[in-house]
């Protein structure tokens, strides 16, 4: 049975609303946040040096892949960056953020849009975004393991155990990335969310436990999304500044 609704709002137009609060503030902040990160990360990704310092490796360049045929003056960041990039582009939180800010679809709730027809996720996009997100989740989990290995290596100062400020920076970064990645909605479904009755499903208690854990992280997905986004950039910046000799990395242990 086809049931189509014809809505009764007036003519379309950008930002028409009776709302009196500062509804434009959130999309504006999101645009500024994205712009800052994209500008820095694009610049950083094109750099061919200064991405490592001592035992530290910038997360933009991990896992470190450099085939022999790769031109020396080309950055290797692009071997990796498409994975977190794709993961975040198909992430439910980021979708909310960019639809609301970059595409004004809608800028805020009950605020009119430039076009009257719905142009958000339709057709192929609507079908493929969640599927792609699932693929990117699996890949991101692999990358996450690599980033943890990098952190373990960051305790190794020429064969001696040690802790520098850079070690802590990398540890905090990977922790935030883990909170973000393990709070993924796709993972939440995968580990237990797709069970219709926990106690009746095989391994139900374990799945309920995992689902509860992931759910706690998912609850704050927005928070982890922003914190981990900036921590990645700042970790790269810290290592870069150390490598450039601008900052001096302090050894704690």
């Amino acid at each position: 049975m086809k049931q189509t609704l014809t809505a009764h709002v007036g003519a379309p137009g950008f930002g028409k609303t009776e709302r009196r609060d500062a509804w434009w503030l959130e999309p504006l902040l999101v645009v500024l946040g994205f712009a800052t990160f994209v500008a820095y990360s694009t610049w950083a990704a094109f750099q061919v040096s200064n991405y490592s310092y001592g035992p530290y490796l910038s997360p933009f360049f991990s896992p470190y892949i450099r085939p022999d045929w790769w031109p020396a003056n080309w950055s290797t960041a692009f071997f990796v960056l498409w994975i977190p990039g794709g993961f975040r582009a198909s992430c439910y939180y980021y979708r909310r953020a960019y639809w609301r800010s970059l595409f004004a679809s809608p800028s805020a709730c009950a605020v009119s849009e430039p076009k009257r027809d719905y142009t958000g996720e339709t057709g192929t996009i609507a079908r493929w975004l969640p599927i792609l997100h699932r693929w990117f989740l699996y890949l991101s989990l692999i990358v996450l393991v690599w980033l943890w290995i990098d952190v373990v290596k960051a305790f190794d100062f020429d064969g001696h155990f040690g802790i520098g400020v850079g070690t802590l920076v990398m540890l905090i970064n990977v922790a935030l990335l883990s909170f973000f990645t393990l709070g993924c909605h796709a993972l939440r479904s995968l580990v237990g969310g797709n069970a219709r009755c926990f106690s009746c499903a095989p391994g139900g208690n374990a799945r309920y436990g995992m689902w509860s854990f992931v759910s706690k992280l998912t609850q704050r997905h927005k928070l982890w999304a922003w914190f981990s986004l900036f921590s990645v950039g700042l970790t790269d910046l810290y290592i870069r500044l150390c490598a450039m000799g601008v900052l001096h990395d302090i050894r704690i242990v």
Binding site: C109, A186, Q219
Partner: protein, 274 residues
Amino acid sequence: MSETVTSTQVHGGGATADQIVSVDSATNQHIQVRINRGEAGEIEGRWEEFTVPLAKGMVVLDTVLWVQAHQANDLAARWNCKAAKCGSCSAEINGKPRLMCKTRVEDFNLAEPILIQPLQTFKRIKDLVTDVSWNYRINATIKPFTPRQDREWKWFQHDADRAQEMRKCIECFLCQDVCHVLRYQTEEKPQFAGPRYFVRTAGLDFHPMDGAERLEQLADEHGLGLCNITYCCSEVCPEHIAITHNAIIPEKERVVDEFHDPVKKFIRKIQKKK
């Protein structure tokens, strides 16, 4: 249309206490409310302004009922319980979809008039009342609860929690109103059931004893994929149901789990070969 009403008029007719303004809550202040009125099918409507005596703790619905009783007797508004439990008095107040009975007047800047409009997504019947019958037609298409026969009738609170959250819905249709897939949908658009019915479906799908399969219906007939996760439905929900987070996204993910997960597909293929 604006008119100042004195307290004797308010108390009127020898009554001992007014329903809305009583001695202990009366103030000397008056506030302006601007109500969008109109006949069936009118989109823009007309704004009429009324002066209403302010009482402490009063809600927007009080102002509308006061206007109805004293100044515009035929002002149409839908309401029932006046306790935020039935979801009848949905409207757009200062541009935001809300329940009139749950919106306190004092939370606004009273120097400006309060704007009250009907839900914009649905066709106007009269004044603040809109035709929400489309929702009931969509509801009727959802596969009903189908108890499983193959398992003991026993489950625990943690099995019920997810579905119980969905069943808190009071069908105020604010989520349907604010959802921009519906709000700007014209005749040519594919069908989209709207947040309320993803919530209802999730409430059935996460019922520990339900055995019906609704994923194909969700993905195809009800257009689940069209939602672009703006979270507006969750923002306006007066029952604080995490609609996007706990209903829409988990259902989208169940579709992927069922039909598109690469690892699961691989495992299934191997199992088939065996």
